[in-house]
Amino acid sequence: MSSAWLAVVVVGAATVLLKAAGPVLAAGRQLPQGSARVVELLAPALLAALVATGAFASDESLVLDERGAGLAAAGIAVAVKAPLLMVIVIAAVTAALLRAIA
């Protein structure tokens, strides 16, 4: 099995279980305050890490290339509350234009 299919099957199964566990096993119960806060902070920590590695990591080194410029443009778009689609298009177009010039 390829890495891609292995990831598809395992992540799919894990996600199905994560989503179903509460509704199937513990209907109506509330989560303890502390654990809710940890999970709440997992999302910003992970997403920020994905922003950083997606823009500046190339294999095992840090680089500043067109992706960084695209991220900067995306940052401006996010700051002015552009819709998600617009943010993505602006980043892609910025990187594509810079590559076309280079």
């Binding site: 109506g28 922003v51 950083a52 980043a91």
Partner: protein
């Protein structure tokens, strides 16, 4: 009404409720479709076969985790690193689904299937004071599911006719997308510090660890955020 029979609830009476959920997610549909198309394209670019990308959207149905898998594998990371990153990203669905547990009905199989329609957007849209509107959650969830899976299929097919995705700047779409998803989450100081520490840890580890590990290690940033809260409450 809550205890009416399954047959009664399947009548057109309830379609109005599900329809309201569909209407509620409509403004999100173009973005979800485009997002799905992007996933299909990027999955192909990372070496996924088309069926794997579509099956993943049908079963995992969680944007950031799916992009994380493609991102880690595309960067040469191992399947284990991709799986751990995605499962950690989706860990939030445990407590989210638990909080909405009362919205689901019937036996275990039906609850299991209905719970798959819970994603960030359907969860947020169906939130009502103190509880969740079951029909909004399911109606919105079905619309999002169709948009996401359909978009993925379009992206996979279009991917065959497109050249190098880097030429189109699609690799820059990854971080932009995560930034757009992150922005609404960093409303308070705890979330902001978790995000900053997460990014810092990931960047610091990138030159010295295999692809995927920096992102996993960044999860420890959430502990820093909790510590900060204890020091400076409110």
């Amino acid at each position: 009404m809550p205890d009416s029979t399954a047959i009664g609830r399947r009548r057109a009476l309830d379609l109005g409720g599900y329809g309201a959920g569909l209407r509620a997610m409509m403004p999100l549909l173009p973005a979800v479709l485009a997002f799905g198309v992007s996933f299909g394209l990027l999955a192909r670019a990372a070496g996924f076969d088309g069926a794997a990308a579509i099956v993943m959207s049908l079963t995992t149905f969680a944007g950031s985790a799916q992009f994380a898998v493609v991102s880690v594998l595309g960067a040469g990371g191992t399947a284990a690193a991709a799986i751990v990153a995605a499962v950690l990203l989706n860990a939030r669905y445990g407590p989210m689904a638990l909080s909405a547990a009362t919205a689901f009905r019937g036996g275990w199989l039906r609850r299991l299937l209905e719970a798959q329609l819970l994603v960030d957007e359907s969860w947020a849209l169906s939130r009502r004071d103190g509880g969740f509107d079951r029909r909004i959650l399911i109606g919105a969830g079905l619309g999002l599911y169709a948009g996401w899976s359909g978009g993925t299929a379009i992206g996979v097919v279009a991917g065959d006719s497109l050249a190098d995705p880097a030429t189109l700047g699609l690799d820059a779409a990854f971080p932009a997308l995560f930034l757009a998803l992150l922005a609404p989450l960093v409303r308070d100081r705890r979330a902001l510090s978790a995000a900053l520490f997460g990014a810092g840890i990931a960047l610091a580890l990138t030159p010295i660890s295999p692809a995927g590990i920096p992102v996993i290690a960044a999860t420890t940033a959430c502990l820093v955020g909790l510590r900060l809260e204890r020091q400076a409450p409110a």
